[in-house]
């Protein structure tokens, strides 16, 4: 049996994270009681950063899996590999996390194949068990282990919804876009820009977030604003930087592209 080095998954430096509400207290309470965590929120709203901050706070390794529609149970649990005429078992990220009492974070969990619920369900209730069928092994998670999943309700469809039997096992936390002052502070810190520019970027984001009825699936995330700030700090003209990082990232519709560019040029 081979295993990845768990040490690689520890968060060495304190991640920059500004709490929006009491999410850290709730997450710590969930962790203390062995309850799994469900993070809901739009893209770029800080879900992954929050998990990093939580992992750093409780000094546990964080194993992140970006789920996709080809992700199967084997990818999570592990598989046998043949190398040099020998067969050996390689732990998947979920097994690795359970063995070492780490946080296993399944990002965009609704994207994963349905058969993954087979391993998620027993780990997410009071059994806290992971069955490795191919090895005939049943692992019971130590108290340090935590399962966390995230999804974006804005992208939900009939085909990619989270089943009630799954979601009702989790403590849910909604992480929305931060309030303007907080978001401005995040941009200043992450992009190294001054307050007036950060404030303008936040205002632009707020405008795009009000465009759902006009055909925009989602508004500009905090992440996009940080990208814009980084380009501007590097000397790219502000309107050009915003066009590249915000407008074109949000939509291909030419009318909406034009409208968002006009908002940017009004504010900056």
């Amino acid at each position: 049996m081979q295993s990845q080095k768990i040490e690689e998954h520890f968060i060495a430096e304190k991640p920059f994270y500004l709490p929006q509400k009491n999410e850290l207290a709730v997450a710590l309470a969930a962790y203390g009681n062995g309850l799994p965590l469900l993070l809901k929120g739009p893209t770029g709203s800080g879900k992954t950063r929050f998990m990093q901050f939580l992992a750093w706070t409780i000094k546990r390794p964080l194993i992140t899996v970006s789920c996709h529609d080809d992700l199967s149970t084997s990818d999570l649990v592990g598989r046998y590999l043949i190398r040099g005429g020998e067969t050996f078992w390689l732990d998947g990220p979920m097994t690795l996390a359970v063995r070492h009492g780490a946080i296993c974070y399944l990002d965009e969990v609704v994207e994963a194949r349905k058969d993954t619920t087979v391993v998620i369900h027993p780990l997410a209730d009071d059994r806290r068990q992971l069955a490795i069928e191919k090895r005939g092994e049943l692992l019971t998670a130590p108290k340090e282990f935590m399962l966390a999943v995230s999804y974006n309700p804005g992208y939900q469809s009939v085909l990619k919804d989270m089943k009630q039997s799954t979601r009702q096992r989790f403590v849910a936390l909604e992480l929305n876009y931060p309030p303007p002052e907080l978001e401005s502070e995040i941009i200043r810190h992450e992009a190294g820009v001054k307050e007036p520019l950060a404030h303008s970027l936040v205002r632009i984001a707020a405008m795009t977030r009000g465009l759902k009825d006009s055909g925009l699936q989602e508004g500009a995330s905090t992440r996009l604003l940080v990208h814009a700030g980084l380009l501007i700090r590097e000397g790219i003209a502000p309107r050009e930087a915003c066009h590249g990082t915000i407008t074109e990232a949000l939509t291909d519709d030419r009318e909406l592209v034009g409208a968002i560019d006009e908002m940017i040029s009004s504010v900056i």
Binding site: A206, M207, L211, S214, E255, M263, I264, S265
Partner: protein
């Protein structure tokens, strides 16, 4: 001899008995001043317009002198065709506006500078203004720029520039200014902000009646209401301009050349007297400030400077504009017989308090229905059943934030508002409903709706809640 010939020609088009004697004389005098070719061309156009509308014909003759500064006689027919087209589409007022700017409304297009039609700008402009405002504002083409607070009315086309980019920027400016008026509560529809406004000279201050009509009450205190409205609207335009410079500096910077262009098109101030002169001076001063040229000075009126400074300070609220409107009127409008109403600034548009009030009532009813339906969808079944039974026998109070049976709306955070400056404070959203000591968290959409209702009515009427059961 020439006058006789002219009179005979005119009589064939307009029988003498259809004109007042002085109208007949003035018309003959005007026509006789033209050379024979021009007189013939003008008479031909009178023959076309007179059967359509006598008022339009007089308006045409009134504007003809200005028109002929830039028109050749052979172009008259095409100009009149354009006038009639606008008249049929939007009426006499629009036709007057069309005639007042021959260069932009007629000659630009004649030179192939077609401008940008509303339909061409709409696709980008609608999401732009909705993003800017965070509201589902409607845009509609109209003869003049205005807003009723639900819809922004914009010109059917804009042809200040040869390229669409420049003309789109003008559309953008017009829409943004009208949003500025809505945002800064030009029509005093925000009850939370307006409730404590002192109306100078109003004996009804503090009474419950006419709560919605604070603006009507204000204008009722003036002998010349039209003049008071013009002063108020212009001073509000100063205030909104400061707001736009703070909030949308990029837009205001990009449009500086356009403000300079508008300044050049304003009437010669030296031809004006009295209050018309002063109001036009403020308009031109504003355009000077916005264009960055600052060539237009306010002059040596210290009191006028004080009034303008108050509106231009960036701190002014509606209450301050009420005060300075009153102050301006009292200082300069004692003898307003010479008042000549000039066209407002293009981006300022028309002041339409009645339309705004109608739109407000429509929105109020729509919000009421939406709130009741949305609240009914989230109320616990038991609570709604109990409340239904109780509310059948209860009178419905007009407005309160406490429901009779112990259920109450709790607009959390209201106590933190700065009561000293209600004019400047945005309303906070009610975040939850307290039903029999149980907190029911309001969804975001309902919170927003509750905030809008509170802004409109001052508080959330309790029967909105009892009706949801």
């Amino acid at each position: 001899m020439a006058r006789v010939t002219t009179a005979l020609s005119l009589q064939q088009i307009i029988p003498d008995n259809q004109l007042n004697e002085w109208e007949h004389e003035e018309l003959i005098e005007q026509l006789a001043a033209y050379d024979a070719q021009l007189e013939r061309a003008v008479l031909e156009q009178i023959a076309v317009i007179w059967p359509v509308s006598h008022a339009l014909c007089f308006a045409f003759l009134g504007q003809l002198h200005n028109g002929l500064h830039c028109l050749e006689p052979k172009e008259l027919a095409a100009w009149v065709k354009g006038i009639l087209h606008v008249y049929e589409a939007d009426g006499l007022r629009a036709a007057r506006l069309y005639m007042s700017d021959v260069e932009n409304n007629f000659l630009c297009r004649l030179r192939g500078e077609s401008g940008l039609a509303f339909a061409g700008a709409q696709g980008r402009l609608v999401p732009y203004i909705r993003g800017l405002s965070g509201r589902s504002l409607q845009l509609e083409p109209s003869a003049s720029v205005a807003t009723d607070t639900s819809t922004i009315f914009l010109p059917r086309d804009v042809s200040f520039y040869r390229d669409h980019t420049g003309n789109f920027q003008v559309y953008k400016l017009l829409a943004t200014y009208q949003w500025g008026f809505i945002s800064q509560d030009l029509y005093c529809q925000n009850q939370l902000r307006s409730a404590s406004i002192h109306i100078p000279g109003d004996g009804q201050q503090g009474t419950e009646g006419d709560r919605d009509d604070i603006l009507a009450r204000f204008f009722n205190t003036f002998a010349n209401q039209q003049l008071a409205q013009d002063i108020y609207h212009l001073l509000q335009t100063l205030r909104v301009s400061v707001f736009l410079q703070q909030e949308y500096p990029g837009l205001m910077r990009d449009l500086k050349p356009f403000f300079a262009l508008l300044l050049k098109k304003r009437p010669d101030i030296h031809q004006l007297i009295g209050v018309s002169y002063l109001l036009e001076k403020i308009r031109q001063w504003l355009l000077g400030q916005l264009s960055g040229d600052k060539v237009s000075e306010l002059g040596v009126h210290p009191h006028l400077r004080t009034i303008v400074d108050a509106a231009w300070s960036g701190q002014a609220g509606n209450g301050d504009i009420f005060m300075v409107t009153r102050s301006f009127y009292d200082a300069y409008c004692r003898d307003d017989t010479a008042y000549e109403q000039l066209p407002p600034l293009l981006f300022q548009g028309e002041f339409r308090p009645r339309e705004a009030h109608r739109a407000r009532l429509v929105r109020r009813e729509s919000n009421r229905q939406k709130f009741i339906e949305a609240l009914a969808a989230i109320l616990p079944p038991q609570a709604t059943a109990e409340k239904a039974a109780e509310s059948e026998n209860e009178p419905q109070p007009l407005a309160a934030n406490v429901v009779e049976n112990g259920a109450n709306i709790t607009p959390a955070g209201h106590d933190t508002m700065n009561k000293a400056e209600p004019d400047q404070q945005p309303a906070e959203e009610p975040r939850f409903i307290c039903l029999d000591d149980e907190h029911l968290v309001l969804p975001e959409e309902l919170r927003e709706l509750a905030r809008e209702i509170e802004e409109d009515l001052g508080s959330l009427p309790s029967f909105y809640i009892s009706s949801a059961s």
